[in-house]
Symmetry: C2
Subunit: 245 residues, 2 copies
């Protein structure tokens, strides 16, 4: 699927307008994002204050997480700790925990459910991001909607990359140094995938996802929620952290 910036870039190119199509597309996409921001606010205008407070926190955390992500890619010195902090802020909170908090606040049950939903949502959100990183490195464009290898050409400071960088030597180590190079060829991407497998990095990330899933599901056991909610959250966990989404 075409992103907003690609759609506006294409429109610019097809019409033969002046200036760089990429900049036009990015400028338009920023404005569309800002409009979405405004409409999201309006949707929440009549929500209880607790819901609006959660939404405000979510947006602050997301922006901080995105900045750490940008910074990590720019610095190019991946570490497990930094990679996991990005996972927690950018996805753990934004993708799973905070939306659950928002739902609870809208239902007037924030105080009773917030800690349970955090115990479930934070590890699951981190698992979601780690799965996303694996799909970004190995994934199929038809499934992910992103070009294969895009994360590698962006040099994202993922846990996968941090583990592989600890372990790779020689040619494999040199290849990892090239992460973040937009000129990486499809053959380089295939070689990098081999490095992730041969160093055991992808298996280790799978193991971490598994552990986080177990943690998330365990948090549901004693949760003060109805049975059908427990079942729905368990299904959601398997979907979010699974290989097939």
């Amino acid at each position: 699927m075409e992103t907003i910036h690609q759609a506006f870039e294409r429109r610019h190119t097809q019409a033969g307008w002046r200036g760089e199509g990429r900049r036009f597309g990015e400028g338009a996409a920023i404005l569309v994002g800002d409009l979405a921001f405004v409409y999201a606010d309006r949707l929440l205008a009549d929500a209880p204050p607790s819901a609006r407070a959660v939404f405000a926190e979510l947006r602050v955390e997301l922006n901080v997480g995105q900045y750490l992500d940008l910074l990590g890619a720019a610095k190019g010195e991946p570490s497990r700790a930094a990679a996991r902090r990005i996972c927690r802020l950018k996805s753990g909170k934004y993708t799973v925990e905070r939306p659950l908090h928002l739902g609870a606040a809208l239902a007037g049950r924030f105080d009773g459910l917030a800690s349970t939903l955090s115990a479930y949502g934070l590890p699951l959100g981190e698992a979601f991001q780690l799965r996303d990183d694996l799909l970004g490195a190995f994934g199929d464009r038809a499934v992910t909607g992103k070009p294969v290898g895009e994360d590698l050409r962006d040099g994202k400071a993922t846990l996968l990359y941090a583990i592989a960088a600890e372990r790779a030597h020689g040619a494999a180590g040199q290849l990892l140094q090239r992460l973040g190079d937009p000129e990486l060829s499809d053959a380089d991407i295939a070689d990098l995938q081999t490095v992730f497998v041969d160093t055991g990095a992808s298996d280790e990330v799978e193991g971490v996802i598994e552990g986080l899933m177990t943690e998330a599901l365990a948090a549901l056991d004693d949760a003060p929620i109805e049975e059908h909610a427990r079942d729905a959250l368990a299904d959601l966990a398997r979907y979010v952290a699974g290989r097939d989404r």
Copy 2:
């Protein structure tokens, strides 16, 4: 003064980080803008609904105005009507009218004052943008904080440009065709300034500003506001549309 994207680009360059400094700076600036968006919302969280509604409208109008601005620069076919529509949406409403509405709403006087403040604020906001366009074409970096000629290298579809394009012929017309070319030299910029003066475009824009100012000030005459407010708004009008801000 350094903008946010310049500051982050510089940080990237000085640290010798990976990737393009410009993209890093722009990415960070988008996130800083989004954070400002969130904090602005939080400031208004306890404001009356009428104030929040004005703020939501302001943001929609601003984004639409900005998009028309981008589009106008990309299309490069300036017209008086399009230039003035951008002025009204991007600045008339956002810079003057809506902030006045917001203040009135916060003071609980929106219903009584909205139409007066529009009659004053819309023409003044348009005058503000036309002044800004003149400063962008002729201005002094020390005064405006923007590089001289930046608007010309961006090819903004201003009224100044639309009028000059109607009247210029030969070499002057060809030079105007180059508006929007980031490679315009300082000598080209100086030649363009001469075209704006010689075609009478800059004088005509001054005249339009003058007319809008008169309109804005006239709206204050019968306004249902206290004398000191009338005086303050009259001072503001002269400052905003004036040459010395």
